[in-house]
Structure formats: C-alpha cells, structure tokens
C-alpha cells in the first residue's frame, strides 16, 4: 500500500514543536480529528490505545523515525498521518536517538493485513535515508505531501 493511499493529507504537520512523546502523539491524533476522523471521546481513546502500545515497546525504530500505531473501531479503513518534529522527540527509540519523523497508523479492528501493507509502504519510503533527510527539511505540510506523492509515483 502506498503512503499516499492512507496518509490523510490535511492532517500532516511539518512543524510540531512538542518534544514529549505523549504531546506529539496527542497533536497527531488531534490533527486527524480536525481532518474529520474520530467523534466524541474517540480521539482520547485512540491516544490511550497508542500510548498503551508504546508501553509494550517503543515504535521508535531508529534513524530518527517512529511508527506509533493502534487499532481502533472508529476507523473504517486504515488512516495515517505524518508529523515532522524539527527539535526531535525523546521516544525511547531502539538506538536511543531522538525522533524527527513520525508516521502514525490507525487501523480498523480485525484487519491485520492492511496494517502490514501500510508498514510495507512506510518502509518503501523511509528506508531511504536521503528521503528522511528531505522530509526533515520540509517546512510545510504541502512539501511533506509532495515528497510522499512524488516518491510513490517514482
């Protein structure tokens, strides 16, 4: 699954100033909420589910990238968003380094294959170190989107 198929364009944030893990996660979920996802208390539930998953093991997989994720019944298909944190976030990553690029995935319950397909898509883009450097330099959500859309087309 290509990233441009599940990243919600309107929820991308290129300049997250928060430097704490929970604050960044909350901001990303709030961006999705403002883009029309999650009703009522669902946004809070999603934050809790993501934080609960992080307690099992950090999704900071090294090289400045994290993939926080959760399953939640409020989404009918897998949705995602991206945050670029220029100051870096302490994320308990596997390499103990701060995280600068976060890709959040929220998938419906009982749809594990979508989640795995999305991870493939994230890997296709972000395993390329020069692509991550470009993302970190992006100063607007439009620039982030263009980088992803162009990479998906290549």
């Amino acid at each position: 699954m290509r990233m441009s198929e599940f990243i919600v364009r309107e929820a991308i944030s290129a300049s997250v100033s928060a430097i704490q893990k929970e604050a960044v996660i909350r901001e990303m979920v709030e961006n999705l909420r403002q883009a029309g996802y999650f009703k009522g208390n669902d946004a809070d539930d999603v934050v809790k589910a993501i934080l609960k998953r992080e307690l099992l093991s950090s999704t900071g997989i090294g090289e400045g990238v994290a993939i926080p994720h959760a399953k939640h019944s409020s989404v009918e298909r897998l949705v995602g968003t991206i945050a670029i944190c220029p100051s870096g976030v302490a994320f308990d990553s596997v390499d103990s380094e701060p995280v600068f690029v976060l890709v959040m995935l929220i998938s419906p319950q009982e749809r594990p294959s979508e989640h795995l397909r999305a991870l493939e898509g994230v890997s296709r883009c972000l395993r390329d170190k020069s692509f991550v450097v470009s993302l970190r330099k992006a100063t607007s959500s439009q620039q982030v989107w263009d980088l992803i859309a162009n990479h998906d087309r290549a």
């Binding site: 989640h115 991870l119 493939e120």
Partner: protein
Amino acid sequence: MTDAMTGETCRLSIAITNPQGFHMRPMQAFVETACRFACEVSVGIADKQPVNGKSMWGLLSLGAEQGMKIIIETTGDGAAEALKALAEVVERAYDEVPEPPA
C-alpha cells in the same frame, strides 16, 4: 517445518501462525536477536527478494500475514544457534492477552 544445513548456512521455512501476522513487536525482537549473532541473517518470502534480518526496514517490507511462510537463512559464525533463536522469536505468541473492548 523443514531444516537444511549446508556448511555454514542454515535455512528454515516457517509458517506465520500469529493472527496479526509478523508484526512490529516480533520484528523488533527478531532484529534484536539477530544482532546478537555474528552471522548474516536474511529473511525471504514467496516472490520477494530476501531482506536483511538485522534491519527493521527490511522486515517491515515483508508484509508477512498469517498463513504465509518466511524463509530464514543464517550464514557464518553461530548460524545454527542463531537460526534456533530466531525461529523461537517467530513462533512466540505476541498477542496472547486479548485486547479489552475499546
């Protein structure tokens, strides 16, 4: 499960039984385990090029769902021991605790 050893290379084909597939937590445990050994570790699936089993990015690109088979290949020092440890990681249940209702 088949097991073949040729010199310093060991190979094992193993079915993914976890309903969530080969997801991030087992992948992380796999990489951590693989990195404890000096040997090279590759992981392949059906029609895809094998990936580096010591790299999260490699494993993330596999997309191994329940029922699919992955082929783990270890080459070099400690290959047999590494293969045994990696098979245990793949076979371990990571979702034994059911999720409470949302």
